[in-house]
């Protein structure tokens, strides 16, 4: 039993984990969100009828228990004086803006907050820009109406709603694990290359080559899936984003590994040179993917000096799907590499017999 687990079980574990990540990644709904609203701006003193379009909301079902606020600076809130529900996804909230705003600036930007027991609390930052001609924060007497209290939690198992991403947030379980699996497969590859350089066993070289092939396939899948995702969220498949450029270079460095391999006839020379090159390629991969993108601004989350994945980008529900996906794809990557390596080993044995 233990033997089976060690030799075969991890392959099935990989399949199960990837299956789990596909099912969970597609089935768990998004949290409610605010996908559109008009108007975008108003003048102080206006009465604003804000048309709100919700996403995954249940306005009609919640009806009487719906509440809405405009929020400034976390502390000052202005409750809607009237909420007219049109259907589950549309409502009109009326706000009576005061003639003076408690800020020293001419423009204040308000966050829209909608709360109901079914969907929980839903936020849209920078929902309404309010202009004022007279700036007199001292003269303001704020009458915000009912306070923002007793907010509801909403359904427990949801993925965050992000206005730019919407449902494509699910790509976190398909696009990102490609890169994580690629790195983990390349780590395996460089370990075998170093082992080859130390012990000169041909099987180590064959394993390193097989893992590198799989790593490149995973990297290319990461690149192409990223281009599709970017087209619909960043507007273009290739924005010359630092991480896009650097990963493309990293993949070219790894492709050169095979150019090198196939240009060398002698088996021993080929193994030694490609093992040394693989160590170099891995040494280039680390700064290209982990260091340079953080030194400058990037469209990718977690760059420009930030930690790789912050809680803003990956909440606890997402971790529940994301990490199994990474482990699953890595195991599948090693499995496919092993198949390649076994074919290679048989070929070599045949060559030796002849």
């Amino acid at each position: 039993m233990m033997h089976w687990l060690r030799t075969q079980g991890w392959k099935y574990l990989g399949l199960v984990l990837v299956l789990y990540s596909i099912v969970m990644g597609m089935v768990v709904p998004l949290h409610s969100g605010i996908s559109a609203r008009t108007p975008l701006s108003a003048d102080a003193g206006d009465t604003v009828a804000m048309h709100v379009e919700g996403y995954n909301t249940h306005f009609a079902q919640a009806q009487e228990e719906l509440r809405a606020w405009l929020m400034l600076d976390d502390s000052l809130t202005l409750a809607a004086s009237r909420i007219a529900v049109q259907d589950d996804r549309h409502l009109v909230a009326t706000f009576v803006l005061p003639p003076l705003l408690p800020t020293e600036k001419q423009v204040a930007n308000f966050t829209l907050v909608i709360d109901n027991p079914i969907d929980g609390v839903t936020l849209l930052p920078e929902a309404l820009f309010v202009r004022q001609d007279t700036v007199a924060p001292q003269a303001v007497v704020w009458q915000g109406g009912p306070e923002m209290a007793r907010l509801h939690k909403g359904p427990a198992l949801t993925f965050p709603f992000r206005n730019i991403l919407r449902e494509t947030i699910r790509n976190t379980y398909f696009h990102v694990p490609m890169w994580f699996a690629m790195i983990l497969v390349f780590i395996g590859s460089v370990v075998y290359s170093i082992r080859y350089l130390r012990r000169q066993q041909p099987t180590d070289d064959a394993y390193a080559a097989a893992l590198t092939t799989t790593g490149i396939v995973l990297g290319m899948l990461g690149l192409f899936t990223g281009m599709i995702w970017a087209n619909y969220t960043w507007g273009r498949p290739w924005s010359g984003d630092i991480k896009q450029n650097m990963t493309a270079i990293a993949l070219l460095v790894y492709l050169a590994y095979f150019v090198l391999r196939y240009s060398l006839e002698d088996r021993e020379v080929r193994a030694r040179v490609s093992a040394a090159y693989n160590v170099f390629a891995f040494a280039a991969l680390i700064p290209l993917i982990f260091v340079i993108p953080r030194l400058t601004d990037s469209l990718h989350p977690g760059n420009g000096g930030n930690p790789a994945i912050g809680s803003e980008d990956l909440d606890n529900t997402m971790r529940l799907v994301f990490y199994p996906a990474v482990i699953g794809w890595t195991l599948i990557g090693y499995w496919i590499s092993q198949l390649l390596w076994r074919i290679n080993r048989l070929e070599e044995r045949l060559l030796d017999e002849e």
């Binding site: 494509t168 490149i216 396939v217 599709i228």
Partner: protein, 74 residues
């Protein structure tokens, strides 16, 4: 052989990506919260793994032929 695999991946997927990039704001993939972008991403992964499987399959076929040749000669 491995470079063939790489090239075929590029040539298969690049036109798809560029076709999508030229489409309208209100195209099919943008409907219902852009869920079809996720479907497209999953399809690309499936196609990629599929091409890789075909490559491994051909390698194995070549080996089988070599073995049968070897058995006939030996």
């Amino acid at each position: 052989m491995k470079l063939h695999l790489a090239a075929s991946l590029v040539f298969l997927l690049l036109p798809l990506a560029s076709a999508w990039s030229q489409s309208e704001q209100t195209d099919f993939l943008r409907q219902t919260g852009m869920i079809y972008v996720v479907v497209a991403v999953m399809a690309v992964i499936f196609v990629g793994i599929g091409i890789y499987l075909i490559y491994i399959d051909r390698k194995l076929t070549r080996l089988e032929n070599q073995i049968s040749d070897h058995d006939q000669n030996g």
